[in-house]
């Protein structure tokens, strides 16, 4: 058994119940430049400053029980992300959000929290789909062009090795807007641990195949706008997903 699984098992054995706050949060400003691990630490420290009754894992190196729905890459803002924070006792969700927000650094905000029973399915496993908004000169026509291609082969770095991969199958749809602003576009993509569309790779493909200027692509503002469960187009925002608890059979 992996150390993490072992710790999780020990935790659930020691505490019959964890009282989970499912949080929807946003990030912008300076905190946009934090990597995923740093972001976790920031939430942990905020919860500690707020003196909230965070539940820790058991074992040799206790960690706060916090699960993010999907890591947020460096440089990506968000208006709608999720994390589950486990507490030792029931807590009013409104108070929880308020107290966390008073302790979080500027740029990070909990938009809403919801008390849920300890979920049987990890919040990570729910995520199938994400939406992103790109803002850059001429990005809408470029992305629409990309959607017409059969394949979009880009090179991604994984474990220090360059690997070619086709990201076209990960792109589901471009949201249509009334004003059709050429410089803003929102896209729905596959997301989650199995098939995940990385916004930087999308921009790379626009640069490579759709004539988007390199500098414009690099300076594009990227905002994650939603995370969903279910199969596209029948998707549900994560906060609306029913929670299967351990007591459900």
């Amino acid at each position: 058994m992996l150390q993490s699984e072992l710790e999780k098992k020990m935790t659930t054995q020691a505490h019959q119940t964890a009282y989970v706050q499912r949080c929807r949060f946003a990030r912008e400003g300076a905190t946009t430049y934090l990597g995923h691990l740093d972001l976790m630490t920031v939430f942990e420290r905020a919860a500690r400053r707020a003196e909230l009754p965070i539940l820790y894992s058991q074992g040799y190196n206790p960690r706060p029980m916090m699960v993010f729905a999907l890591p947020l890459g460096v440089g990506i803002e968000s208006t709608c992300d999720y994390l589950d924070i486990s507490l030792e006792c029931p807590y009013d969700a409104g108070d929880f959000a308020k107290e966390m927000n008073a302790a979080l650094p500027e740029g990070l905000r909990i938009l809403s929290a919801k008390s849920i029973p300890e979920p049987k399915d990890s919040i990570m496993s729910l995520v199938t789909t994400a939406s992103y908004r790109f803002e850059a000169k001429g990005i809408r026509p470029a992305l629409l062009k990309a959607m017409e291609k059969d394949a979009l082969i880009v090179t991604k770095m994984a474990k220090g090795k360059a690997k070619d991969t086709d990201i076209r199958p990960l792109l589901l749809a471009v949201k249509s807007e009334q004003d059709e602003d050429a410089d803003v576009v929102e896209i729905i993509t596959l997301a989650g641990s199995a098939n995940n569309a990385r916004p930087d790779l999308i921009l790379q493909s626009l640069k490579q195949y759709c004539g988007l200027d390199a500098e414009i692509a690099e300076n594009a503002r990227v905002v994650r706008t939603g995370l969903y469960a279910g199969n596209y187009p029948d998707t549900t925002p994560i906060e609306d997903c029913p929670v299967r608890s351990w007591s459900d059979s």
């Binding site: 300076a30 740093d38 420290r45 500690r48 440089g75």
Partner: protein, 642 residues
């Protein structure tokens, strides 16, 4: 909060490693809104704008206590706005030059050349060239003499500032000693100067510097003339009659009363020492003869347990860190150490906060304590005998006896510890091959003890891991060894090899320190004003980040040094007791006479008792506080009662 926009684009930030270093936005960072309002309305401000500069990367600077203390002290003042700036890493350095972006403060993204003061904290000599980098990236002239009325005042402080001579020509102001009070007195003078510019009688920069010379602890390098001569050494003469001839360091008398930052800035990204610090006392009772800190921080002044516990509680709450380090030179010498440690552990009970303890003098109490403290388990036991034989330990006055090491280790091994780290120095004065070989011998006797304990107790023993680390002796100013030579590189390499050849067990690992940087450190530590052009030329040839082994280019430095008619030996040689040392115009309270007598005791292999056992009369009692009087008071009291 209101601030200037970041001068770098998203694409720029995405190109560099760890962009979070360059964006600020941390919890507890201070932005003075009132100042921004003033600036917005009138384009100027009556606030004194102070940029606290750390000449190394963000992650290292954010772990620096001096930065956190002085940042806090200044921002508490209603007339000062202190912001932070760090050395940009090489990738960002190149980018800023390419895009013509000036180095800016993290709080309001203001270019540093728009500040009234840039203050550098200097913790180690190898960061000197990064000071030059930061000035360069700010577009500020390097030499003090080339700066004019519109340039910021450039000042510094910190432990290596006691011999600032190699960098003296670059600074307008140097602060000697503890800064909490001095920096405010200094800021007040600069603010007067700043405000006077709006009046009919503006003060000049030269007048400001003269006025600063009146502040105790402040050294204004440009007010002195300097000459060198092989017989008499460095000679520093005041240019004017009323300039002080001796600069005496400042200390804080009562640490319980001085402001301590219980709400330090908490980095968003993870940094080198990701923990909060509680400073327990200043000074050290021990007097190891090689240790600069042990002399320059005297006298010992402790905080009370009550104050410490309250500060510890607040620090934990205000930062959210899950680890707290106790910071002092030899922390377990704190008179009420058990009480403090237990109190803090109680405060943290159930919070998943760990206390990180410094190397302790192990006895059954501390072993029990260490059991409770998770972080020590991970890192193992640490001892710093510094020398292999008792003879050499007596020479350096390192008060640690082999019996004590062995009895502590016996207890620890019985308790299940299996990782031991041993720290030594090579190249100490009077060292012989016998002393070097004794290091290997000590390690193998510890190995034997481990297996003996296993046999005696019958417990199952884990794999033993002993690490022997050696660093190189560096003769530092303000120590009894300030006159000593440094061994030549060849000699040091020979000794290192000798030691390596004598370590044969696979349970014992040998780790050593890079030679070249230790040699350069001596040059900088004992250097004088002749080095300023050397440092500047080296920097301009691309030599900086010298504190980073990968970026330190010794051979290139040697070339620059030689081209200026200097050699390593000018600074690594034995200084004569008669010559004037480059730092003789500074007083840390400890007298030169005392240092000299300690040197002679060393040669006679005579130890000196700790301040707590017996005051050796080092001279620091002139400050009138601290440990120096604790004993006398106690003795007087006893005498009075009997």
């Amino acid at each position: 909060m209101r601030q200037n926009p970041l001068p770098l684009s998203r694409a720029d930030l995405m190109k560099v490693e760890s962009p979070a270093r360059y964006v600020g936005g941390e919890v507890n960072a201070v932005v003075k809104e009132e100042m921004l309002e003033e600036l917005e309305k009138t384009g100027r401000t009556s606030f004194l704008r102070f940029a606290f500069c750390f000449p190394d990367i963000y992650e290292i600077g954010m772990s620096n206590l001096a930065l956190q203390i002085l940042y806090h002290v200044m921002n508490e003042d209603p007339h000062i706005a202190c912001e932070r700036a760090f050395s940009p890493w090489l990738d960002m350095d190149a980018l800023m030059r390419e895009k013509n972006v000036k180095l800016y403060s993290l709080e309001t993204k203001t270019p540093l050349d728009q500040f009234d003061v840039l203050g550098f904290t200097l913790g180690y000599e190898m960061c000197y060239t990064n000071v030059l980098q930061m000035l360069d990236l700010s577009g500020i002239p390097f030499y003090s003499k080339n700066r004019g009325e519109n340039d910021p005042i450039i000042c510094c402080g910190g432990p290596v500032a006691y011999n600032i001579e190699p960098m003296a020509d670059f600074f307008d102001i140097v602060m000697m000693g503890e800064g909490e009070e001095m920096i405010l007195e200094f800021c007040e003078k600069v603010r007067e100067y700043k405000l006077s510019k709006e009046t009919d009688h503006p003060m000049t920069r030269a007048e400001l510097l003269r006025a600063c010379d009146e502040i105790e602890g402040i050294y204004v390098p440009s007010l002195y003339e300097c000459s060198y001569n092989h017989e008499i050494g460095a000679h520093l003469r005041p240019k004017y009659e009323d300039v002080k001839t001796m600069i005496k360091k400042r200390i804080i008398k009562d640490l319980d009363k001085v402001t301590y930052p219980t709400d330090p800035v908490v980095s968003n990204m993870r940094v080198v020492h990701d923990r909060t610090y509680l400073e327990v006392f200043r000074g050290c009772i021990r007097g190891c003869r090689f240790c600069q800190a042990g002399f320059v921080y005297r006298p010992v002044r402790e905080k009370s347990v009550d104050v410490l516990c309250e500060q510890g509680r607040q620090l934990e709450k205000n930062t959210g860190y899950d680890e707290m380090g106790l910071l002092s030179l030899s922390t377990s010498d704190y008179t009420k150490f058990p009480e403090l440690a237990e109190n803090l552990l109680e405060t943290f009970e159930g919070h998943h906060t760990s206390l990180s303890l410094p190397s302790l003098r192990l006895d059954s109490f501390s072993l029990d304590l260490m059991e409770k403290v998770q972080s020590t388990r991970k890192s193992g036991l640490t001892f710093a005998p510094e020398a292999g034989t008792q003879r050499l330990r007596d020479v350096i006055n390192k008060n640690i006896r082999e019996e004590d090491i062995f009895s502590s280790l016996r207890l620890a091994f019985q308790g299940g510890w299996s990782t031991v780290k041993l720290y030594f120095m090579l190249g100490l004065p009077t060292e012989t091959d016998e002393d070097v070989i004794a290091i290997a011998d000590l390690a193998s006797r510890i190995e034997k003890l481990y297996f003996d304990v296993g046999r005696e107790t019958g417990q199952r023993m884990r794999r033993l891991d002993i690490t022997v680390s050696t660093s190189l002796f560096i003769p530092k100013p303000f120590t009894p060894f300030q006159w000593e030579k440094q061994d030549s590189k060849e000699e040091l390499i020979r000794k290192q090899k000798l030691l390596k050849d004598h370590i044969r067990s696979r349970n014992i690992h040998y780790a050593w320190h890079d030679f070249d940087s230790s040699v350069w450190e001596v040059v900088l530590a004992r250097g004088d004003r002749r080095l300023a052009p050397v440092l500047l030329e080296g920097y301009q040839k691309g030599l900086f980040y010298d504190a980073w082994d990968d970026h330190f280019k010794f051979n290139q430095w040697l070339e620059v040094l030689t081209s200026h008619g200097l050699s390593v030996d000018d600074f690594a040689r034995a200084f004569s007791e008669e010559e004037t040392l480059p730092w003789d115009h500074v007083s840390v309270g400890v007298t030169k006479k005392f240092l000299l007598s300690e040197r002679h005791h060393a040669y006679k292999e005579e130890t000196t008792a700790s301040c707590r056992e017996n005051c050796a009369g080092c001279g620091v009692a002139c400050f009138g506080v601290g440990e120096c009087f604790a004993n006398r008071d106690a003795m007087a009291k006893e005498g009075g009662e009997s």
